[in-house]
Symmetry: C2
Subunit: 432 residues, 2 copies
Amino acid sequence: MTTALLTDMYELTMVRAARAAGTAERRSVFELFARRLPDGRRYGVVAGVGRALEALERFCFDDEAVDFLLGRGVVDEGTAEWLRGYRFTGDVWGYPEGEVYFPYSPLLVVEGTFAEAVVLETLLLSIYNHDSAIASAASRMTVVAEDRPCIEMGSRRTHERAAVASARAAYVGGFASTSNLEAGRRWGVPTVGTAAHSFTLLHDSERDAFAAQLGALGEDTTLLVDTYDVEAAIRTGVELTGGRLGAVRLDSGDLPLVARRTRELLDSLGATRTKIVVTSDLDEWTIAALAGAPVDGYGVGTSLVTGSGHPTSGFVYKLVARSAGGPDTPLEPVAKKSQDKISVGGRKYALRRLDEQGVAEAEVIGVGRRSEADRNDRQLLVPLVREGEVVGAEPLAAARERHLRSRAELPLDALKMSRGEPAVETIWEGRP
Amino acid sequence: MTTALLTDMYELTMVRAARAAGTAERRSVFELFARRLPDGRRYGVVAGVGRALEALERFCFDDEAVDFLLGRGVVDEGTAEWLRGYRFTGDVWGYPEGEVYFPYSPLLVVEGTFAEAVVLETLLLSIYNHDSAIASAASRMTVVAEDRPCIEMGSRRTHERAAVASARAAYVGGFASTSNLEAGRRWGVPTVGTAAHSFTLLHDSERDAFAAQLGALGEDTTLLVDTYDVEAAIRTGVELTGGRLGAVRLDSGDLPLVARRTRELLDSLGATRTKIVVTSDLDEWTIAALAGAPVDGYGVGTSLVTGSGHPTSGFVYKLVARSAGGPDTPLEPVAKKSQDKISVGGRKYALRRLDEQGVAEAEVIGVGRRSEADRNDRQLLVPLVREGEVVGAEPLAAARERHLRSRAELPLDALKMSRGEPAVETIWEGRP
């Protein structure tokens, strides 16, 4: 399926007008970045890179799309012909997936002709704005969950395709698994799931329901124990498994209290290895509040897939440089006049500056190229696309591991749940 | 493309366990509803009905999906065989798209075997939770915009497929058009778009950029006038068109003030018919604040596609009745024990009660069937699927018109932007 119509109409009317004016082929550099982190957040997490690279490969205009655009009068015949032959032939550098970011981090640098680069704007922003919002929320949750696994189960609370991307982004942000089957099939995210309240209600008794579940899924399954009476349900589950029940799930009530009582009851019944999984509108704060409770895993839904208060990341995609003439004409920085926004034209570099202990202390950004990294500086931009060929694809697990490494470099303050400033400062080098 | 893996894993493990226990074929009734409106909202808008019906028609398990499920050990061979033959054969009633709703309005009533109805849970919830959140936000915006058209332009701020659904839902909620091309192609939503700041920056001067745009798109186009100096840009645009410029777009600054100055300048230059469109992080409150300003249209992005603070609707899908035996066994209401939630088992009816002036005064809900509507009561549940066949499909424009009619029936208080209670009371009939 082509991705090319997942696009704002003005991208194509701009191509049409620039073609007519002879400016469509001017060499251009676009940059994707955020002017600020979501209010109060201390770091962000880059996600969607792998999805964006796939979408780029499928970004072409098939006959149906072109006919639609012609029929609506969006493009003229010449532009239609150009669209039919469209393939991105330029270069893209970017932060690799899972890396943390800060205000003005140049997450993507897209270089090509104006026309071929501008038409990617909407799709790249959609993917980055969504996926990074989810991964950023996920990372906060896995910080406070520490060694206890977090399970993504928010599919039902968001658009059905956004749900798949959310499960993927949550995995990048450190989640262990998801309830979403398509995320398992498409991206290899581990999937989990056992039963809902409806399953208990379907049967003539809770005992019948538990017996049915245990018979089909084995003793290692997780029983949902709060349909009627939690204590009675736990006793039934332990009895039916001779104490070998895998886990119980608590989905209501005062979770710290109920978890403690559940642990005591399980232990008193000899089910000392039965785990306790909690769900029920969890977010990073309620997870933190459960740190002292005997809980073995967290299922998180709504707050994760809605970015825990920040469902989008505020990324923009700006033309920062372009040539005024042919292919050999030098790039010139350009920027909109702006009272309250920093706009720095020109192609950027970006470094994560680390101190001697390996702790991140600054995001260093400058215009141009900077070949030699000082001290422990890490180059943040890696090649993603070279002359139209994707070169930055990698397994999703690599992004997840990178995130955990990158997060571990942050100063301790970065991991506080309270509202704060970006954990490291953005430093502009060589700025006038 | 099949939609069947856009699903939580536990839907399929429940089918597996129920099949083993002989309970999978029990006749069941599921209901989709919200326990409350998003905090402070006075009404909600049902959207996603048409999308859900299409997803239902494409809900089947192809070989690739079944192989994945078998390979992961999600289902056994018998369940896999059942999935291969899966088609929903039951009945669905629901609120038609665009209708307003209140707490406990039974938006969908799904009747079939447990197995065939439970597997639809995640997908139906995803679609309804997302689309209704967007339509509900859109409706508040079009209320305060009154006769001025609202343009949906939030694609870049949300997942690329959610963007298409958002444009569609915004249209149901009264928006006039969208920037999203796929929403135009797929759902017939009117599309609009002209140029971004990058187009002006691409050219050697703003005059060159405007001339290029006017040459390609005609004098009736909308020029973006705030890249450098608003007044100079307006003068250039008017000059280049001999005063016949279609519209100018303002995307920054103190909009009420800038809009007034822009109107005065346009009028003084003789461009009295040139319209003013404003964009720049608008929401229902900033639109309301512009009511007295000379503005002709609003472009809304982020706040719309994130549901203006409520990106999801909180709908749940609950088993409310099931038979304990064969097809002729009567349905029995079932409900989870709950301290703080009203759970009423059984298949519902729903009526909008109108007073003598045609103003909505209550949402009347009861268990069972209620053939005769009293007074001006309107039956809210219509047939959507009969014995597996979709019977409730309709053009999107019908949903938009229904919404505007249904909203017009609400008491005036319903249209206040301030936080409040549901505009009409939910009345339970015949409840013990």
